[in-house]
């Protein structure tokens, strides 16, 4: 296990380096830079040239690249280009918000989809198609609803008509009640987007296991249905579910970008969108690095959980 972890750590470093390099050059291949993003309708090219000079955007690309790598090695993420704010500070503020949203969402999604999926599988197994059909179809319908549309719909219902959640307000941990109220609709939207795939995956995996010989054996030994389903079927179906869960978390982070932007939630998704719009290279680079890091960590955790669930898994 230790050897495995060391190997994974090395892979992680190489991957991150690759991400840094790719993002660095890809960003600069885009036409227009930070000064052009600032230009709007009343700044002239001459004025922007001065600004470009000061921001160091006139330096040759390779020298920008090496100085960036150098500062990364010192774990110095530097400042944003346009607002000149320390990136570390911005990350410390926004990461907890996005992570709170993502974690609550994933817990909710698991809590809803696994029982639902298991129930659907059980019903299908028993030949009671109606409930299975309802669940499968419902999962398909919510899967087809785009996040921005669901967002606006829920905003109209939960905020304007029922007045349960506010449409605006500061999102900070200093005011946890307001924080929860503000992230409620985004969490619901994201949970909905996660439900479909998790429910369907659980249903397929459990259904497959329910048809196995050992389930029949367990039943023939007189085990109660609950024990059969939860202890034997669900446990053996866990492997594919965990795989999907790992991938889902990645999708979920993508999803936060959209809902954060719609609801003006100051998480990393909003930061990222702003950064791309304003060509704020250091900001975008740092955020993508962070996303890559999260993905790698989640993959790593998935692998560990695998091993835990099924000791036969070899790395």
């Amino acid at each position: 296990m230790f050897g495995y972890m060391m190997k994974r750590f090395l892979q992680l470093t190489v991957t991150l380096f690759g991400v840094v390099t790719l993002v660095f050059f890809a960003l600069r291949l885009l036409p227009g830079d930070a000064t052009a993003a600032m230009a709007g309708d009343n700044l002239s090219g001459e004025a922007l040239e001065r600004l470009r000079e000061q921001m160091g955007l006139n330096e040759p690309l390779y020298s920008q690249y090496f100085s960036y790598l150098g500062s990364l090695l010192r774990l110095d993420f530097g400042n944003t280009l346009i607002t000149n704010l320390p990136l570390m500070e911005m990350l410390m503020k926004s990461v907890p918000i996005t992570m709170t949203i993502a974690l609550i969402t994933i817990v909710l999604a698991i809590a809803i989809s696994i029982p639902l999926g298991t129930l659907a599988a059980y019903m299908a197994h028993k030949g009671k198609k109606t409930l299975d059909n309802i669940i499968t179809w419902a999962a398909m319908v919510v899967d087809l609803m785009p996040a921005f549309w669901t967002s606006l719909l829920l905003l109209l219902i939960l905020s304007l008509s029922l007045g349960i959640f506010p449409a605006s307000g500061a999102v900070t941990f200093e005011d946890p009640v307001m924080l929860m109220k503000r992230i409620a609709i985004p969490v619901i939207v994201l949970t909905i987007t996660q439900l479909a795939i998790l429910t369907r995956m659980t249903r397929t995996a459990v259904l497959e296991v329910l048809n196995e010989d050992y389930i029949r054996t367990a039943r023939s030994l007189g085990m109660s249905e609950i024990l059969v389903v939860f202890r034997h079927a669900l446990k053996n179906a866990a492997l594919p579910i965990v795989t999907v869960l790992g991938i889902s978390f990645g999708n979920l982070l993508n999803g936060t970008v959209i809902v954060e932007f719609i609801f003006s939630i100051p998480g990393i998704g909003t930061l990222l969108v702003n950064g791309i719009y304003s060509r704020d290279y250091p900001l975008v680079q740092t955020l993508i690095l962070f996303y890559a890091f999260i993905f790698i960590v989640v993959n790593f955790l998935t692998d560990i959980v695998y091993k835990k669930i099924d000791p036969r898994v070899q790395f």
Binding site: N42, L155, G163, V177
Partner: protein
Amino acid sequence: MRNVRMGWAILVVISMMVISACGSTTTANKGTNTAGNAKASATGEPTGGDKELVVRFYDNPAGFDPATIFRVENENIAFNVFGGLTTYDGETGELVPDLAESWETSDNKIWTFHLRKGVQWQSGYGEFTAADVQYSYNRIMDPATASTYSAEFADVVKIETPDDYTVVIELSKPNGNFLHVVANYHQGQIVKQEAIEAGGDQVKFNPIGTGPYYVEKIDVNSEIVLARHEDYYKGPAPIKRITFPIIKNESNATIALQNGEIDVIMRSNREEELAILEKAGFKMNSSMNTMTYIMMLNYKNQYLSDVRVRHAVAYALDYPSISAALAPKNETSPAYNIVPDWMDIFTDKVPQYKYDPEKAKALLAEAGYADGINLTLLIGAVNEEYQLVQEYLKAVGINMDFEVVDAATYNQRRLVGEFDISIRAIPALNPDMLLFSYLHPDNIAPAGLNSSSYSNPELTEKLEAAKVELDQEKRQKLYEEVQIIAMEDLPYYPMFGINYYWPSKQNVTGIHINKLSQVNFYDVDMN
């Protein structure tokens, strides 16, 4: 056994989620009702009669240093924090005294400003004096500041301060519009040396000025809070604290106003949202025809370099109909001059191009393009309006394709003049800014904003003559001729004037949007 325990654990987690969800819902309602009171008492100051205003801010703030400030929403904050020697009246848009009580010039070259006495800086930086003016302007001109507005002071030869309350500025050539240059906008905003130095590399987010409000708190991703400057020279403002929550989505802003979470929407610009708010009985607080949107017809394009083709484009478009159909609230049309009608140099004697598709076809044929031509519109996003423009042009034989790019690319390409046709708004109060920037050959892209690469020696001559002309009447005449030539040559086709709205609750008074699309919060009050 372990699995049973795990089952229990899952059950516990689920029930906790359910309980906490219910819990947060109930506290949510309470929170909404008491939010206002909680905020007021949290400051620990007396709450009686202290009004707090909540104004929607529509993007993340990008900083408030006058040397590099950009985008109108940031400029609006700076407008209330800083002061200039002159400023713009909120209702009439006229130049009025601000930190300078009076001024004189005999030749438009040497300008003497007499400063107001006893003006106090925010945050205890002492009294405002002539040295502050000198420092601020020198800072803009200093190449190390890399100010985007240094060109505005390009003609300044020297700035002298004979005493604490007098500033004498000498220009290399006369400039009849110099009072615009020293107004409370961009380069004209006066900063305090000690505050700039204390701000260090965070100076953008630590603005210290002499204006009616100071910045109490900025959370760049969440909100800006302004508090009134108790020592403001006109006396403290009626509102004690203004919170600007960042709400990017227009629908969210509308719902927040309807829910009573905010009092004012800074700039609401979607027809359907405006209709909802108007119907719901909110105050609309508008400013009509604030600036002109122009279609830049680039001379670098082989077809558009022919004046007959440019005229054909103008005759092909029925802009009043387009505006009326798609944006009756947001657009004032026709705009038959690139200079908006409220500017004192405006003239209506310019040639007008009323919708006449037959004439457009004839002009194209005359230019030798009877079979039609192909052009591209460089744009940030295609909407119904540009699709209609496309249809109108197609009807006379001009095939216009869209090239859709993101904001940074859009700005970049417009700045270097790499397009056939593109769009721009002309934000200006200073006629020099407008006419020189867009029409003078020195400002041909990428050096300046003359992105159509327009140059007409006759016009250039009159433009330069107007700038040095001391006689107001003669100057007006010269500007008039400039506009007539410009609209005959038509490097820029004026599409429409844009209208601004800051919808608010009925109890909010004094929201006057000036022609820079800014609101002076000193005038704003709540009943």
